[in-house]
């Protein structure tokens, strides 16, 4: 996804309001942006607080800054700067965090972003974009720039099954129709979980939705999603984020608000580090029961 980001932003670099800041990261990825943007590519150094604050000043000057780091360094360290300088003023600052969830795997806990969109969605005026597939990144960027409000883009690794025909990007998309539970997945997890389900009989497989923009708004829940939920009575949310502040909580709140709460609710979320050991993203997903095999097993067992 980072390569797509770089290629997309190269196309934006000629815009008069474009400016890009990085917290000294992006080696072997952002060089094309640096070349295209020239003086408007700024390495702000290993100083994320100041980078975000400077971006707010740039946005007040009529520019639309992109602010890049790896996800864990972008939302937690400068949280107050995001809140006070960017979000309170609804400024068009676009935060790009690479490596959401456990993406940095064995690099360790400090490099994981397990509570990023939950924390950021508590702030006013901010929308978090969590593309599930590389093909989504360009469309998400287009929506971020069109909205011109504070945004956080959580990037991961593309895991799209080759055989999947992807509908155009939207905050909510149904990727697979099915007669089982309504499975709502956030972000790139969707690809791996979806792959084995494609061959299941339609009557028994879940209805699979991918959610790409947060927070969840009760008023804009798709009618098709509500229809699927009414039919199945079982909502199953999967996300590479902790329970607290996660999409599962947001969606449950939205459904309760609408008076559409399903009879059953299953939530698979990041559990942190149950064993105290470290490994690949796949390793950590498995520990949290987020891997495709665990989800398929849960679905077969009736999502107990």
């Amino acid at each position: 996804m980072r390569t797509i980001l770089s290629n997309t932003l190269v196309a934006y670099a000629s815009r008069p309001d474009f400016v890009f800041l990085t917290g000294d990261l992006g080696f072997m990825a952002l060089e094309p942006v640096r070349t295209a943007a020239g003086a408007r590519f700024i390495n702000a150094g290993v100083a994320e607080q100041n980078m975000v604050t400077v971006a707010a000043g740039l946005a007040r000057s009529g520019l639309r800054p992109w602010v890049y780091s790896i996800a864990p360094f972008l939302y937690a360290r400068p949280f107050e700067q995001i809140r006070n300088d960017v979000c309170l003023h609804a400024l068009p600052v676009f935060l790009v965090g690479n490596g959401g969830g456990y993406a940095y795997g064995v690099m360790g806990a400090t490099h994981h972003a397990l509570e990023d969109y939950g924390a950021l969605c508590a702030l006013p005026n901010l929308t978090a974009y969590v593309p599930a597939f590389a093909e989504d990144v360009g469309a998400a960027i287009a929506r971020m720039t069109a909205a011109a409000t504070p945004a956080y883009l959580r990037l991961g690794r593309d895991e799209k099954p080759k055989e999947l025909v992807l509908p155009p990007y939207a905050p909510w998309r149904r990727l697979l129709a099915g007669g089982g539970p309504v499975l709502v997945i956030v972000g790139p997890l969707a690809g791996g979980i979806l792959a084995p389900l494609l061959s299941w009989p339609e009557a028994s497989r879940p209805s699979v939705w991918v959610l790409s923009e947060l927070p969840v708004h009760a008023a804009t829940l798709p009618e098709e999603l509500l229809g699927d939920l009414q039919r199945s009575g079982h909502l199953f949310v999967v996300e590479e984020h902790v329970v607290q502040g996660g999409a599962g909580q947001m969606l449950a709140h939205a459904l309760l608000t609408r008076g559409k709460a399903p009879a059953r609710f299953t939530h698979r979320a990041a559990l942190g580090y149950p064993s105290g050991r470290y490994g690949s993203q796949r390793y950590h997903r498995r520990e949290s029961g987020l891997d495709p095999e665990s989800i398929a097993a849960a679905l077969r067992a009736g999502a107990a």
Binding site: P16, G45, Q49, G57, S61, L63, L88
Partner: protein, 254 residues
Amino acid sequence: MNDIVREARLRLLRMHYESGVGHIGGNLSCLDVLLTLHHRVLRDEDRFVLSKGHAAGALYVTLWSRGLLTDDDLKQFHKEGTKLAGHPPVTGVPGVLFATGSLGHGLGLAAGLALGKRLTGESGRVYCVMSDGEWNEGSTWEALTFAAHQQLDRLTFIVDLNGLQGFGTTAEVADLGELREKLHSFRVQLLEIDGHDPAAIEAALRTESDRPIAIVARTIKGAGVSFMEHKMEWHYLPLTAAQYEQALAEIAGR
């Protein structure tokens, strides 16, 4: 400027007295700088950031002094439903670009504005008034490093060096020694002035350079009121009626 300063000090004391609000000491220490900046220096194309947001009272009185806020506005300071909060608000006050009050933000915001002017080709300077206590904040040093590295030649920041912070003197809390020596080691143009001398303030604010300008303004917390001067407690205390009368007499008599 002396008459303007005297009138503003009286109005500031009245506003704080009527609202029963503290933070008077740090407002009085930077009031001369704010007044000189707004009356004598700032042009339409310039921008201003009050990094020491707890001096909102001094800023509001300065804007009143320039005719940008009304007497009725000041009467609402700190009252229920006011637009004049205890720290500069998000919207509703002319010239306030950012809500401040958490220290360590202003220099970076001003650096962003100055960089924005460079990138967009807009004219004008960016001024930022800071406290000395906020040099405890790591983000302030991040911002200084950035501004110096980027050689932001449209940026002027003024440090209100009154020597007192929240719970002690700056020397007692986290002693930096001479701040000017630290600033000098960065690539900034360093000026040092008496922060209560309008002519010196104006000359410093009008200085231009090929690099960021740092003005160390030596000031007195509670300046102009004998029982407040150099006293930490006036970071917090509201005035009693007797104290208010004495303060008025001292300032009016000068």
